[in-house]
Subunit: 872 residues, 2 copies
């Protein structure tokens, strides 16, 4: 096992082994030449995994590190700890996927009481040397030894008080020397550089299993088993004076995707200062004024990197006394709008082919483009303007902590999370909030990065606001303008914040997105339909490019006032005459529903699922009737008899496990009258719509089928009604079934004999295959199961392909064994999930159906699945 | 397609095509010679199926019938309808499986106004001829044309009144002639014999889909698709005078299995008179006095047939003027004790090899041998003695109709169904009753046959009792002795009935049964264990030959008074200290439970399932606490706070679908303390039992596993507790899981990595694979689904092999892929069902586990599965 690779040995293909940063630094070294990239070496992720397993360095690692260090020293012409001219190194984490700020870093390693003098001598800058040493002792103590950061800060504050200064930069060499000594009293500082290095490497390994990192991985679906690599690199100094500086540069605007570089830099600062958001940095374009030749070099390098990687780049650089060093490059995380714009521009510029361009888009993130924005017709008072850090508009109740955000979200309330700046511990609150507001930090700040990654609208650096979590208020110019619980609205696309309740408007799909969607439609094989129960939803879905309705649930149609009363009458009826009277009232209403949906989807198929939920779902609860009965009795008992009757009926219909009870086709067989009414309404609507000259394609879907015979019974019944109304199976409508029970998957060959199509109901299939009641499990067990690593994401979000997926595959294969051209769809929520879509593409499904808003996401994901399948 | 076969063309191998009766008559013709079997031909079951499909005779059938009839006429030397010497035929149904009395029969076909004279002339018996004609016109009108039987009976009664006679036999030729004419006025009687024959054949076909037949098939699990054959056979007459008669003869005693012929006969009667139970027949041994040479011939024939078929025979015969004709033979249905005795005797006599003898036993029926009997130590007043028609003792509430029996059984009450005699319409009541009592009919009566088939104890022909359903009472000598609702006890082995409440005693396994079980144990490969939760059950199971406990459920152990209080305290605890206190109270109690079970099963394996049901099952219901809270508030509210707390906790634990909720391993992961206590109790009990010098083999079973990781977490936890207590996995205990979710079957290879054994929980696997909540489905849907032919028996009774069975097969195969010698058991109720056992034998299962009483059944069924598998 080789544990250590010099930068010159690596390449970007070695990402799994060297981590993203290690692989990219190696790659950069090859492209840009060693003069642009400080030298160093990478300790592999495998070494980290071995360390996690054994809780100690794997055999041979120490020797390999020593040898690599010797090579580095030779290349740099300096030795670690050299009292004359010391080599200083950074020790940085670098996982396969970027986890910004979640893993540990140690800078300026190699300093001690002897080498600090050498550094001072060689740089002729004693204050710089001691400031570096002070920073190192502080960082080492905090990161490696685990001393609370506050204890160092307290000592610095005390020194500043004593010296009567306000800023760190005003502290002189003596102060820094004194602080360094005091810091060393807080712990047992190892003077020996090799010992420093060994400890720092161990700390980076250890940070992989730290709480912050674990939480981040859980949210971002990064496996715990990967481990992180460790990069040891010669230090260069952005804090060496006024011709030095550090920055972050994107090859294109990281928010809009516009083809111009963007980013932030800070003169006379180390990289951490830029990223932390503590000092508000300067725009990258100001570099042109500050050091024009560095700016030109940087632009050239960004272009070179982008061409080389074929993707937008996110780089870190340091300028040391006028010389530009590139410390890192990686494919830029970007919000959906930037991703879409980049893809379109990259093709126009000849940078990428269409398919490759499509693959640069994170389909899941496109959801953000479909988020609402502020209504431009409204006027509102702008409370503050900040950085447009993550696009989309949101409004909600103001909260000041992740905990408060989570609590409110659990209670179903929309909240905006406000913090002066955010840290890793706040990430859980990002999930719970509909929007993020900070008073500090730019586009590359922690808050901005995390919010964009999650598609949560955010405004950062709203500097005119004082956000005071302890007081639970936001002040502007000393005056309280908002308190916890107040309504607040923000527009993360414009960077504006207001206390007014601004109406939000539905998103419009932009031109670049249209192009991406058009390309996707050409590339994909999977059809994309929408789940829609009402004409408005159908129209919206059509607007988003749905090619039909894959699931029109009919139960929601019983929930209008007049309808609900009628269906309750049907269910509670004692005589057939009463039941029929109720059904006769419902028939024209249902027919109207179907006519409106058919009209909205003219020319496209509409799959209508017959009534599925258990009947008692339409009735008042037992407790409610009991309460009313008690009241009626107390009041003299006039209605008591009727209520007693209802109570008995509701009790009869009550079920222990309604999910596994009298639903779907079972209802259709036990109480045929309701299905008969529905089918008659569908057929009458079909005929009426055709009479208006519109083309209609109706697909009647029977839910919850286990046995061929169940569907046969329904088929006979439906065909007979069709004959009565004058419509014919095959010619006027088709007839199929949901495949949503394990048995149906296993006997799909038989069931296919009766069906024109299958639609996999993967929600219920997941519930039955796993024995997981979604209602009961999601809140209680999923979180715990993710914690203890039973799975890394909810099987209701992304299809459990090894389990449920096997059943889908079997069902599809067996169905097609009977009918080669059997139409196969998916109408569970997985139909809008990119990973699941990939699986469906590869397992013979014809179309997916998802919520209207997810249709564009599904179109792109379907295209990517097709491209991926062709590539492999 | 050949639709018609002469008897001389058929054989017993052609049962599917010719039906049981047709195949056996053909076979008998070959063995006994044509002189012993009236000639005839069989119309195939395929013709019936074609008739059912097309609702008309298939092409060619008429011609083939005409040709076969011509051959029959030639052989008999008589022609159908010949005015001089007419051939008369019977037209009888004959399905693949016997369905006694369920399908139609027409006798004396061929008579009309012309041929009746010929019959009179040839027989010299005008009264006989007219009585035959009268019977034919009546039967044809009733069976073929569908005229209500009552209308014929009314005319007979009127004639008897007019003539002043009591019995039919007293009516003279004139009366019979007049009645025949009056009968013909009730419908359009076809005089033409060919038309009579065609109509009768159609009527037999049609009776296959009649309600009675459909109900019988449903209960007896006979597929509707088989159809019935039709046998047309020359009539011989048992009613031709005093040297004629008809009877039913068994080659051995049909109740005890004793090696002596048994049966009933009636002189001067047709076969229907014997079977109907209307006249009480004479014992077959009296034949020796009546016509000794006929008796000798019959005994010889019975022996010949038994040797030929290698099984006990049930025959019908007719003696026509001293000449013996065999009309039918079939393997005798028999109660369990007769089946067991026959098997043992048959081997002793050299009639059968052991394996073949075992295969003659209906394993399912053995259950009856394990039924209770009257306590022989008690004295009781015998109310009546009748025929010991179906063995076993029972007691319950007296009811007089099938409907009342069903209603009472639904209410959980044990009932005895009493009828003067029973008919097909009463069959549903047999299922609901624990015992059957009739005042008429012998061992071959409908009541006796059906009761024996179902294993329900029955006393028939208790002639001293007047059973009056209309009055709802039973009289003896005019005095009312029992009324509806009274307690009654009967002993179907002895034939006694009493109004006393006689204690029932547990069955003892007899010597012949012991022999059968010993043979079974040699023949079978499958192990047989029992499901037992308490030491008494464990002992009983061991007594019945269980080779271990396959499922010891631990939840029942929390239901003693002190225990229940403690577990409730654990569940409602707010602090860890309270929870631990409750668990500490439970620990020694649980340990005691396990010690007692280990001692009872010394030397045999005991599989203990950790707590499975959701916690709220241990708590009072929401409604109950709400009620108590209302009372507490009304009373001043002292306990209100505590009750509010409980209410909140119970609400939190409430689940929408508890079957799919926080159960099994999920509980173990969410609330580890309960499992920890259980495992500690098991290990402590194990150690304590060993200290007593007893051998213990404990298997810890984790329920409801979906993912390998779930079991891994529990494995780590259990192994750690073991280390603390000083017991070791592999050496002291093994650790496995229930496979009871579809996902577990699909990922069994992964799960097997963590398991020493699997036990298929086919109850829950059926619930999840089919999406059927047993609690909700059994009462509402199963009956309806059997009616509409979705399935022919409950999937909870016999494993749904095409669906659930596939999952079991997959789980077994994948588990063994990972661990070649993984132990595989089944602990669902299917473990005691013979058909399911056959499936388990053939799919690599090592053992089944069932209720203690079913253990002997399972041992025999397992042997039969092994023999069957070897034979094919």
């Amino acid at each position: 096992m080789k544990w250590v690779y010099d930068f010159s040995e690596g390449s970007r293909d070695m990402r799994d082994l060297l981590g993203g940063k290690g692989a990219n630094v190696a790659e950069m070294t090859r492209i840009l030449g060693p003069e642009r990239v400080p030298a160093g070496f990478t300790i592999t992720t495998e070494a980290c995994v071995a360390y996690m397993d054994a809780a100690e360095f794997p055999a041979g690692l120490d020797d390999e590190v020593a040898a690599a260090l010797a090579r580095l020293e030779e290349q740099a012409g300096k030795r670690l700890g050299d009292p004359a001219d010391p080599l200083l190194v950074s020790v940085r984490s670098g996982a396969r996927e970027s986890m910004p700020g979640m893993l540990d870093t140690v800078l300026n390693l190699g300093l001690n009481d002897a080498s600090v003098a050498g550094l001072a001598a060689r740089t002729g800058n004693e204050r710089f040397a001691w400031d570096s040493y002070r920073r190192f002792v502080q960082m080492f103590g905090n990161v490696v030894v685990g001393i609370e950061g506050r204890r160092f800060e307290d000592l610095i504050a005390a020194e500043k008080r004593e010296r009567g200064v306000r800023d760190d930069t005003e502290l002189g060499t003596d102060s820094l020397r004194a602080l360094t000594a005091r810091f060393q009293e807080l712990y047992d500082f190892p003077a020996e550089p090799a010992a420093q290095l060994r400890a720092a490497i161990g700390a980076v390994f250890g940070s992989w299993t730290g709480e912050r990192a674990v939480t981040y991985r859980r949210i971002n679906r990064i496996p715990d088993s990967w481990g992180t690599a460790v990069n040891v690199q010669q230090m260069v100094f952005g804090n060496k004076g006024e011709t030095s500086g550090s920055g972050v540069a994107f090859s294109r605007d990281e928010v809009t995707g516009a083809p111009e570089p963007s980013g932030d830099f800070l003169p006379n600062a180390q990289g951490e200062d830029v990223v932390s958001g503590v000092r508000t940095p300067r725009d990258i374009r100001e570099l042109a004024d500050w050091q024009p030749q560095v700016y030109t070099q940087l632009l050239e390098i960004l272009q070179t990197l982008e061409r080389h990687y074929g993707d937008m780049q996110d780089t870190e650089f340091t300028v040391e006394e006028g010389r530009l060093y590139m410390l890192q490059t990686r494919n830029a995380k970007r919000p959906a709008q930037a991703a879409v714009r980049f893809a379109v521009d990259a093709v126009a510029e000849g940078l990428l082919e269409r398919d490759a361009a499509l693959m640069t888009i994170d389909a899941e993130a496109l959801d953000a483009l479909l988020h609402p924005t502020f209504d431009s017709q409204t006027t509102y008072e702008i409370l503050a303007t900040g950085v447009a850090a993550s696009p989309g508009a949101a409004k909600g109740e103001l909260v000041f902590s992740a905990a408060a955000a989570i609590e409110a979200a659990d209670g179903g309330r929309a909240v905006i999370l406000a913090r002066p700046f955010t840290e890793a511990d706040d990430v859980a609150g990002f999930h719970a909030a509909v929007g993020i507001l900070t008073s500090e930090g730019g586009k590359a700040s922690h808050a901005a990065l995390v919010a964009r990654g999650m598609g949560v609208p955010a405004v950062t650096g709203a500097a005119s606001l004082e956000i005071d979590p302890d007081a639970g208020e936001i002040r502007r110019g000393g005056e309280v303008v908002l308190r916890a619980g107040d309504r607040v609205s923000l527009d993360g696309t414009a960077g504006t914040v207001t206390g007014d309740d601004v109406p939000l408007v539905e998103p419009q799909v932009g031109e670049a997105f249209e192009t991406v969607l058009a390309w996707s439609d050409e590339a994909r094989r999977l059809g994309v339909r929408a789940n829609a129960d009402a004409p408005e939803d159908a129209e919206r879905a059509r607007g988003f490019g749905a090619e039909g309705i894959g699931l029109c649930r009919t139960e929601h149609m019983f929930f209008g006032e007049d309808r609900h009363e009628a269906i309750v009458a049907v269910i509670l009826a004692d005589t057939d005459a009463d039941r029929q009277a109720g059904l006769r009232r419902l028939l024209p209403l249902q027919q109207g529903d179907f006519e409106a949906i058919f009209a909205a989807m003219e020319g496209l198929p509409v799959t209508i699922r017959l009534l599925d939920p258990p009947l008692h779902e339409f009735l008042p609860s037992l407790a409610e009737i009991e309460e009313r009965l008690r009241e009626a009795k107390a009041a003299g008992g006039a209605d008591a008899a009727a209520l007693e009757h209802d109570l008995t009926r509701v009790r009869t219909l009550q079920e222990v496990n309604p999910m596994l009870g009298t639903r779907g086709v079972r209802l259709g067989i036990l109480f045929p009258a309701i299905y008969e009414m529905q089918v008659e309404a569908i057929f009458a609507a079909l005929a009426a719509t055709r009479d208006r000259g519109l083309e209609v394609s109706a697909e009647i879907m029977v839910p919850l089928v286990d046995y061929r015979r169940e569907l046969e019974i329904l088929r006979e019944q439906i065909v007979a009604i069709g004959e009565r109304v004058g419509v014919e199976r095959g010619r006027d409508y088709s007839l199929g079934t949901m495949i949503e029970l394990p048995r149906a998957c296993l006997r799909a060959d038989e069931i296919a004999e009766e069906a024109d199509f299958f639609s996999f109901g993967t929600n219920d299939l997941t519930q039955t295959a796993l024995g997981f009641s979604r209602d009961d499990i999601e809140g209680r067990i999923l979180g715990r199961y993710i914690d203890v690593k039973v799975f890394d994401r909810s099987p209701f979000e992304t299809l459990d392909t090894p389990g449920v997926g096997q059943l889908v595959r079997m069902g599809a294969w067996l169905g097609r064994k009977t009918k080669e051209h059997l139409k196969l769809g998916v109408c569970g929520e997985h139909g809008g999930d990119p990973d699941s879509i990939d699986f469906f593409h590869n397992n013979g499904i014809d179309y997916v159906s998802c919520s209207p808003y997810r249709v564009p996401v599904a179109r792109v994901a379907a295209a990517q699945a097709a491209i991926r399948a062709t590539a492999t």
